[in-house]
Amino acid sequence: MNDQDQPLMQMTDIHIEGYSDERWHPIIKGVDLQLRRGQVLGIIGESGAGKSTLGLAAMGFARSGCRFTQGQVVFDGTDLLTLKESQRRKLWGTRIAYVAQSAAAAFNPAHRLIDQTIESATRSQLRPESESRQDAIELYESLHLPDPANIGERYPHQVSGGQLQRVMTAMAMSSRPDLIIFDEPTTALDVTTQVEVLAAMREIVDKYHTAAIYITHDLSVVAQMADEIKVLRYGEEVEQAETRSMLSSPKEKYTKSLWSVRSLEKPESRSNDIVLALKDIDAAYGKTQVLHGINIELPRGKTVAVVGESGSGKSTAARVVTGLLPQSQGTVMFNGDVLPPALKDRTPDQLRRIQMIYQMADTAMNPRQTVENIIARPLEFFHDMKGLEKEKRLLELLSMIELDESFLDRYPAELSGGQKQRICIARALAAEPDVIICDEVTSALDQIVQEGILKLLLRLQEEFGISYLFITHDIATVKAISDEIVVMYQGKVVEQGLKSQILSPPHPEYTELLLSSVPEMDPDWLTGLLASRDGRAGA
């Protein structure tokens, strides 16, 4: 028995470099990290801060194209970096386990879940295989997976994302490791699913007194999980403190700015001038009906946020409006006229007046075209602009999205995530639309960048009176941008109303579940929520 004061993990002065553009760039610049047995440390930061790299470094692992240049990773008295890879490998999966971000991609599609769950335990001959199987079933049960005795016989594609994430936690726990690294384990999940997964992970980590490093970009999530929080930026530590004091009184300016994003809120206003209306819309992919008689109204110059979990039909509704998926029943009214269901039957003017911005700005732009080509295309196509007139308009559009003319001859690959999304906004604006459909446009962005994009969209709405149909699953974004809210669930509209009405009780059952599942910046939020849900279930 080692004495309990000695840290389980002691990382000192870690430097890691990554190879790109034919030279080595620093990714982690001298970070220290200490972890006691049973302690949960949260690491938070924006994308590119080096969170995942640091998490993997705790296993003595560097991704291909990365290398340690300095530092020590002392795990239970041994510096992992001085071991041979074959020796490190003996620790992986048995004493240090990893839970990856996207469970759907991290499970091997060719093997049954239970075989993958017990793989490490079987390899290390921790116990007989039959015992490991029995143990896996018990883990599934304690992680509240449905039908724990048989779910392991399934293949990864046969279970949902939330269930896979819990199976992955069982997989990490199978060898009873001393340390688990959770790398954004709930980022890909809906809020309603996230709550269950968070609760299950916290419960099992407590039960076996396992130490954990919990990596996320979501403050309110880390607040539920961690004893201490470390803030990371540009590969360096900003500050580290105990969770409650970090939340109540962050010291550094950068940390405070992370905290402030969620406070953005637009005052709502009402309008009866309806620019776009979906009336009793049914829609189907092949034989699978996805939308069941939905009604949505979008007032002119306002924002209607469409919220719901994945599979609720939000994006399908957008596809119906754009004409990409003609509805099977019902009508779409636009500026008082019936809009032809199919894209090919619409006039160029109708096409121009409805524009779309996508979640992944990356894939929505042709990587072989310059910014100038991308934005000029709608100018030529819809407005027949040429020469000087076009040049002038291009510069106007760039200034609207707060970029300058130096961006004109850049390619998408030379832009940051936020800049790419701004170019997509400019492209939509170039058509001079009445309505812009925004499909999760801020979901792939960091919080500070999100704030910039949301402010830009609000300003453009004020200046040009554009109406937004804003699809999102993030309630903070909804508060920031919307006048009205539509709640969707399983292809139906649960309710539509002003923001203040929808967000204040009483709620229909599903709205209640959705709203209560949104994590809050209070470390006791999850505990309180679970207690109140249990109480209601027991009553």
Binding site: L56, F61, R89, L91, G93, A106, E119, R123
Partner: protein, 326 residues
């Protein structure tokens, strides 16, 4: 019925349809061949009447669509027809049935193809997997260079080099691969050793490189990183985590090369004087023996379709998404 069975039955039906289309193409392209059997046999001195009578006897006077339908009907009943050769202007008929002519040749071809496949496929898989395992090492590079060299050389050249080395310099194997039915197995294997090695050298590179590429392509997947972080060794990562997901592309390339062993080996047959179906077809084309040419072409097409079907089925049964639907 299990959805996979449904898919397989659908593919089979599609294969039959393809075979029909191919039969039409074969028939029409043979009709386009210049010259005709009547003139080829009777010589230029024959009178027009004689030629016409001869053509009538063979059924060549009927319009092409009618001949095509007759042929298809007969083949559907399992009758490949009667060879044109063996007939002469004198009215003597020593012609043989096409099936009788093809059967021994086809057996020989299949024998050579199977022996080659038994050597080449395991060899290619082994080289491909080990090259992926030790990628970018000297081993990987030398395997790549060697197999690329052998595939880049014309097969007759490979064949003559092998004859030079293994039949002239060291008398290990015979240079002629003449075989007949009465020959003992050991002797037959000895006779076909050189053609089998030649064909192996020709087809191994393609299969080996696809195996290597299919595996390496998967090594960037998140589940491979996960397998490593669960402590799997390099060989475990490749055999247990990558290979099961790589069968579909590998099977396609193997099927393609096995089909080549049946339909594309005429050059090797000629070099080693091996009595296979390729030589038979070439001889029949030069003597305008249309029924034999058609039958050979149909067998070749059938081989391609069947092997590709098998590759598709392997692709399906190794994909759990198709084998175990939600």
């Amino acid at each position: 019925m299990h959805p996979v069975l449904v898919t397989i039955v659908k593919r089979l039906l599609l294969g039959v349809v393809t075979l029909f289309v191919v039969s039409a193409i074969i028939f029409s392209s043979i009709s386009l061949l210049p010259g005709d059997f009547g003139e080829a046999v009777l010589g230029q001195a024959a009178t027009e009447d004689t030629v016409a009578a001869f053509r009538k006897e063979l059924g060549l006077d009927k319009p092409a669509p009618a001949r095509y339908l007759d042929w298809v009907k007969a083949v559907a009943k399992g009758d490949l027809g009667t060879s044109f050769s063996g007939r002469s202007a004198s009215g003597q008929d020593r012609s043989r049935s096409v099936a009788e002519m093809i059967a021994p040749r086809l057996k020989n071809t299949l024998f050579l193809a199977s022996v080659t496949a038994l050597i080449a496929v395991p060899l290619a898989l082994f080289l491909g997997l080990t090259a992926a395992l030790y990628r970018n090492s000297w081993y990987d590079r030398s395997v790549n260079v060697t197999t690329l060299t052998t595939i880049s050389m014309p097969e007759f050249f490979v064949a003559y080099v092998l004859i030079l080395i293994f039949a002239s310099l060291w008398k290990v194997f015979p240079s002629l691969a003449t075989v007949d039915i009465d020959m003992a197995m050991g002797e037959r294997l000895n006779r076909i050793a050189l053609p089998a090695i030649t064909l192996t050298l020709v087809i191994v590179a393609h299969m080996m490189r696809m195996t290597r590429a299919a595996i390496i392509n998967l090594l960037a997947s998140p589940y491979i990183e996960m397998a490593r972080l669960k402590g799997a060794s390099r060989s475990e990562v490749i055999l247990k985590h990558a290979l099961p997901n790589a069968w579909a592309p590998i099977a396609t390339v193997i099927a393609f090369n096995l089909a080549y062993l049946v339909v594309g080996v005429v050059v090797v047959e000629v070099v080693f004087v091996y009595p296979g179906i390729g030589q038979l077809m070439v001889d029949s084309v030069s003597s305008r023996d249309i029924p034999v040419v058609q039958a050979c072409a149909l067998i070749f097409a059938g081989t391609y379709i069947l092997l590709n079907l098998i590759a598709d089925v392997i692709g399906i049964v190794t994909n759990p998404r198709l084998l175990h639907p939600r």
